[in-house]
């Protein structure tokens, strides 16, 4: 009992001390990374790659940066992706003590740009190397706020070994062939295509994959026209939904079951285990998928009419931004300069099986060849994540698509729902 008493005394006084401190501490200001006495500065960087399950050669690029800039002490922290990254970074940004350089993606450029957290980089030299169609993704209200690091193709991973068992010797390149191949697989009792959509993002993915050929193939600037109110979903987006529907009505994919199947626990593990012959995913998954040990192809969604070559869908992936409140702006900009050179960026781009936004070689694996040549020929579309997808509460698009998969709404009603959710000014 006496021990407990003493412990309690200590605790109580500690609690009091904390309470008192809190009362008078609110006015204190923090000094984040500050300049050292010997002319070296510490540069803090936070990102969701470079640790955990995705080392992505970040350490290698950082080491090269460190060697090139001995007067800058680089302090890199890996923060786990998605919800943890959002919660941590947003708290730090509100408090004004996020790292000097932070990893972002196109959505974060818009939301954090709007909040004023990101420094204006328009005057940086590398901005002239950013392709024109990528510019809107790194900018908010005309100011460049981020340096792109990769262009990640999204497509269909294909297990060629399974296809071979059905007597098919190459991955499909147009939609009739795709349907034929799936029918052949089904006839032989072989696994086909599964479309797990419990979280709601896979169907959205597939719709966009198809749209790359069926919508953007004809109207490359569809997003701009849509944002200007010149085109609508019910006018132009039938094809992607009809293709999804065709998979269902022909009995090739159980669309209702899809809604109850989880992307994260099912998609990639099933494909790796040879339980599906096709799987829609991003190039960033290539390294993990290659471990499957079967003959692999990574192709654009074969969405064209017979004989029409497909277009690729490309996700502008990770980017670097500079914290608007950084005190070591020069060092931060030097860091971005370094990453914005193709030769420095190469190890990262290779690990991600992506394409460098500043030109130069991308992933070198042979199975990426189809995708790389499609990209090189200019037949690709950037995901509209900074225009109407950002505009629409994504839950509404995803909900509408789930209703479509469940057969609760037809093509037209679904497109009307998209229009209502995503239209400019809605």
């Amino acid at each position: 009992m006496r021990h407990l008493n003493r412990a309690l005394c200590a605790l109580t006084s500690a609690a009091l001390a904390v309470g008192v401190l809190a009362g008078c501490g609110s006015g204190s200001s923090s000094s984040s990374s500050s300049g050292g006495s010997s002319g070296t500065v510490t540069l803090k960087v936070e990102g969701w790659k470079g640790g955990g399950a995705e080392p992505a050669n970040v350490a290698q690029v950082n080491a090269a940066f460190q060697a090139a800039h001995p007067n800058i002490k680089l302090d890199y922290s890996f923060v786990p992706p998605n919800d943890v990254y959002l919660q941590k970074l947003q708290s730090q940004l509100i408090a004004g003590d996020a790292a000097d350089v932070i990893m972002v993606d196109p959505q974060k450029v818009q939301t954090w740009g709007k909040s004023g957290y990101l420094a204006d980089l328009t005057q940086q030299g590398w901005t002239s190397g950013v392709p024109a169609n990528l510019k809107p993704f790194v900018s908010y209200q005309g100011k460049v706020l981020a340096a792109p690091m990769e262009l990640s193709p999204v497509g269909i991973y294909t297990n060629l070994d399974i296809l071979a068992k059905a007597g098919i010797d190459s991955a499909p390149t147009d939609f009739p062939t795709f349907l034929d191949d799936l029918a052949k697989l089904k006839a032989k009792g072989l696994p086909g295509y599964s479309l797990p959509d419990a979280q709601g993002y896979m169907a959205e993915f597939v719709m966009l994959l198809s749209a790359a050929t069926t919508v953007y193939g004809q109207t490359p600037d569809w997003d701009q026209q849509f944002m200007a109110g010149k085109v609508t979903f019910p006018q132009s987006f039938q094809k992607p939904l009809e293709q999804i529907q065709a998979l269902g009505t022909r009995g090739l994919v159980d669309l209702k079951g899809s809604v109850g199947t989880d992307e994260v626990t099912t998609g990639e593990p099933d494909f790796l285990a040879g339980k599906s012959a096709f799987y829609a995913g991003g190039s960033w998954q290539a390294a993990a998928i290659q471990k499957g040990g079967f003959k692999l192809a990574f192709i654009p969604w074969p969405g064209g009419e017979a004989g029409v070559a497909p277009s690729a869908l490309v996700f502008p992936g990770t980017m670097w931004s500079v914290n608007a409140k950084t005190k070591v702006s020069d060092a931060a900009k030097a860091y971005l300069d370094f990453w914005a050179k193709s030769e420095n960026l190469a190890p990262y781009v290779q690990a991600e099986a992506a394409i460098s936004p500043f030109g130069g070689a991308g992933g070198t694996s042979p199975f990426l060849a189809t995708m790389a040549s499609t990209f090189a020929s200019g037949k690709f579309t950037l995901m509209p994540i900074n225009t109407w997808l950002l505009n629409a509460p994504e839950t509404q698009i995803r909900s509408a698509l789930q209703g479509f998969l469940l057969g609760k709404s037809d093509v037209n009603a679904t497109l009307q729902a998209f229009q209502k959710a995503a239209a400019p000014g809605s």
């Binding site: 009992m1 407990l4 008493n5 412990a7 309690l8 605790l11 109580t12 500690a14 609690a15 904390v18 401190l21 809190a22 501490g25 609110s26 204190s28 923090s30 640790g51 955990g52 399950a53 995705e54 922290s77 890996f78 923060v79 786990p80 992706p81 998605n82 943890v84 919660q87 941590k88 947003q90 708290s91 730090q92 509100i94 408090a95 003590d97 994260v264 626990t265 998609g267 990639e268 593990p269 099933d270 790796l272 285990a273 040879g274 339980k275 995913g281 991003g282 960033w284 998954q285 993990a288």
Partner: protein, 305 residues
């Protein structure tokens, strides 16, 4: 502690024979034997039913000893060969021993603070009936379900200003604050059941209020402390967001936070996540087994009602 218990038991409650004390079977006649076999059978059935119920847990346990290919080929089937490799990898990846130790420290100190601070506050809140005490009680209740992400922004600002970022003490304070409402709620309803004569007797004996509280009231609250801490320790142990947001130094991170950090965001690999998560709860499970004796003995010997 136990000597305190016997002296403070409420005089009007006789030492209760607890329901379900083992029945001594003395005779050997037939119906009794038959009844006994039936009883045995039911008991076995109960254990089997419980095992079926926790089947998904056992599936996880089994899967953690299998190879990736084996699981993929037949996720629900019996393993063809067992391996410890998943565990070896996990132990290294999540820095098991140091991160588990960090979690133990955080959990133990948070639990200590939550029960002591909460029970102290509950004492006057239960005893005094005034408008102010009701208002204060309500104020604590308000915090029962504050989603942590509503306050995380302002809380981060505060913790930074107090220079408690990246500090274990800061984490203990946050966990204590987050769990005080449930602690106050539990203790308040419990203190109401303790007869006030006990304290009056102690006051006559010349005990100060603090001493009365810690020698008489607090030990009486062992059962509710047990229940509370089972709940709270789970909350603290399994929390991911607090350590990931408020700690910088990976060396201070907890085992569950590390397990989560290493999970692939695009896919769930049972061979990677399951062993990490099971290793993560192992120390807590051991603590529970040790702790459970305490709780149960507290529940049975100090049954105040």
């Amino acid at each position: 502690m136990s000597s305190d218990m016997s002296t403070t038991r409420h005089p009007s409650v006789p030492p209760a024979r607890v329901l379900g004390a083992d029945v001594v079977v003395s005779g050997g006649d037939r119906p009794r034997i038959r009844r006994r076999t039936r009883r045995r059978l039911i008991e076995i059935l109960l254990v089997v039913a419980a095992l079926v119920y926790v089947g998904p847990f056992l599936f996880t346990l089994l899967a953690s000893f299998r190879t990736a290919g084996d699981i993929a080929a037949d996720p629900l089937g019996l393993p063809r060969h067992l391996t410890l490799d998943n565990y070896k990898t996990s132990v290294q990846e999540i820095h098991y021993f140091s991160s588990a130790w960090n979690a133990v420290l955080l959990t133990v100190f948070s639990c200590l603070a939550i029960s002591v601070v909460g029970s102290m506050a509950a004492y006057p809140l239960a005893r005094i009936t005034s408008r102010l005490s009701t208002a204060m009680y309500r104020m604590f209740i308000l915090g029962l379900t504050v989603p942590v992400f509503v306050i995380i922004g302002p809380l981060y600002l505060l913790i930074r200003d107090l220079h408690l970022l990246d500090s274990r003490f800061g984490l203990v304070v946050i966990y204590t604050a987050l769990n005080l409402p449930v602690s106050v709620f539990f203790y308040t309803s419990f203190v109401r059941q303790i007869p006030a004569e006990l304290e009056e007797a102690a006051a006559i004996d010349g005990c100060g209020p603090l001493r009365t509280f810690f020698t008489i009231i607090f030990p009486l609250m062992r059962p509710v402390t047990g229940t509370l801490l089972t709940f709270v320790s789970l909350q603290v142990w399994n929390n991911l967001v607090i350590p990931l947001v408020f700690l910088q130094d990976p060396g201070k991170s907890t085992v569950m936070a590390n397990a989560y950090s290493f999970a692939d965001p695009h896919t769930l690999q049972p061979t990677q996540l399951f062993p990490a998560a099971l290793l993560g709860v192992l120390p807590l499970f051991v603590l529970f087994l040790i702790f459970q004796r305490q709780v149960v003995s507290g529940m049975t010997s100090g049954a105040v009602k």
